[in-house]
Symmetry: C2
């Protein structure tokens, strides 16, 4: 940043917003809070709030998620910053949007009395959203879908051990389409992202299914080149 | 964003910064401006400046690049927003960093009298940078390298037609390591990103080399799943 092009004044505020995804019963779900303030009373929005003066955006997101939903996500990354000058009718606010993933087991909400309602919604059927949150939702979904294709990101939405059927359910829920079982299995094994855990799934009336695990439960890229 | 968690005041400014890359003579280069103001007098920084009140960040980046360097990049995307509370010693400024690519032919500078110096630097040997610009440089390089692996992004650093040697030079400059010629060619052809243009390279004392083009000169992902 060089001083010569600085406007002399600036009236912009900085917020953070968090898009959390989980897969439940084969559906991709996201968490929304119903607003109780004008001009968006009754509309739904992603958990969020203004950045504190001495706080990093990541710390702000973690604090806001804890306060508004009780959730501590297993995966959290910066999605993008949304800066349309008209996105907030009450003044210029840019939003640093974050993108969080959790397995279904981590999706229990601690509801607070502060908000009208906090609820998981299917991504395929979102209610009317406040601000530009429909655009943020679309960007988050596009990022998640793209990352399935070049990273091991699905680990963050699955338990430590899972069946191949569980894995396929997560991929299908995110992509929003069915995948051929045999091709999917072949592709997954050739990518080397997962390995048999050596254990079998218990319970159920069927033949016990083999359990798998991700080789790496930290973000990593597939090695294509 | 829900009103309940808003701090009552906020004293944060928003800037934009642009990391421009090009490949010249087999080296990955980035553009820096030497600062003439305290506390970073003499240090180098990416082109940047404060966001205008009614301006999108993308418009601000294009304006700043035009004013400070005369460059209109062929590829421009948001990299990430850098928000460490201590990144600017004169006050809280978050930076929306952008990531730009140009072919070498587009890298001619229009120098202006405003700045001490504007210059292309090899990424492998950057001078002392202002703010957290070393961190921004590292993030931009990591993004560029990763995108080589899952997108067609190299189109934006090459002319419309190029030889296989040109293509390999760009990949090697970005990755910072040599690639086996035969394997690289095989991989590139199997990915389906490029196709022969039907023309031959002119000039030189060698046998004329076949020219290639990118099938798509817009951002696209490789189809892995």
């Amino acid at each position: 940043m060089t001083a010569a092009t600085h406007p002399s004044k600036q009236d912009v505020k900085v917020a953070v917003d968090a898009v959390i995804f989980t897969v439940r019963d084969g559906r991709l779900m996201t968490l929304l809070i119903q607003m109780n303030k004008r001009p968006f009373t009754g509309r739904w929005a992603f958990p969020g709030g203004l950045l504190g003066d001495r706080q990093t955006a990541l710390a702000a997101v973690r604090r806001i998620l804890r306060e508004q939903t009780g959730i501590a996500p297993s995966y959290l990354e910066q999605l993008a910053t949304f800066d349309d000058p008209g996105r907030d009718p009450l003044g210029r606010v840019i939003s640093m949007a974050y993108f969080a993933l959790i397995p279904d087991a981590g999706a229990r909400l601690r509801t607070t009395a502060k908000y009208t309602d906090v609820r998981w919604w299917p991504v395929a059927g979102l209610p009317a959203l406040a601000y530009d949150h429909r655009e943020i939702a679309a960007a988050a979904l596009a990022r998640l879908r793209a990352k399935l294709g070049y990273t091991n990101i699905a680990w963050s939405m699955l338990p430590r051990e899972f069946t191949f059927a569980d894995l396929q359910e997560v991929y299908e829920a995110i992509l929003g389409r069915g995948l051929d079982k045999r091709n999917f299995r072949k592709k997954m094994m050739s990518l080397g992202l997962i390995a048999p855990s050596g254990n079998l799934a218990r319970g159920g009336s069927h033949r016990p299914a083999a359990l798998f695990r991700f080789r790496d439960r930290r973000p990593s890229f597939m090695d294509i080149l």
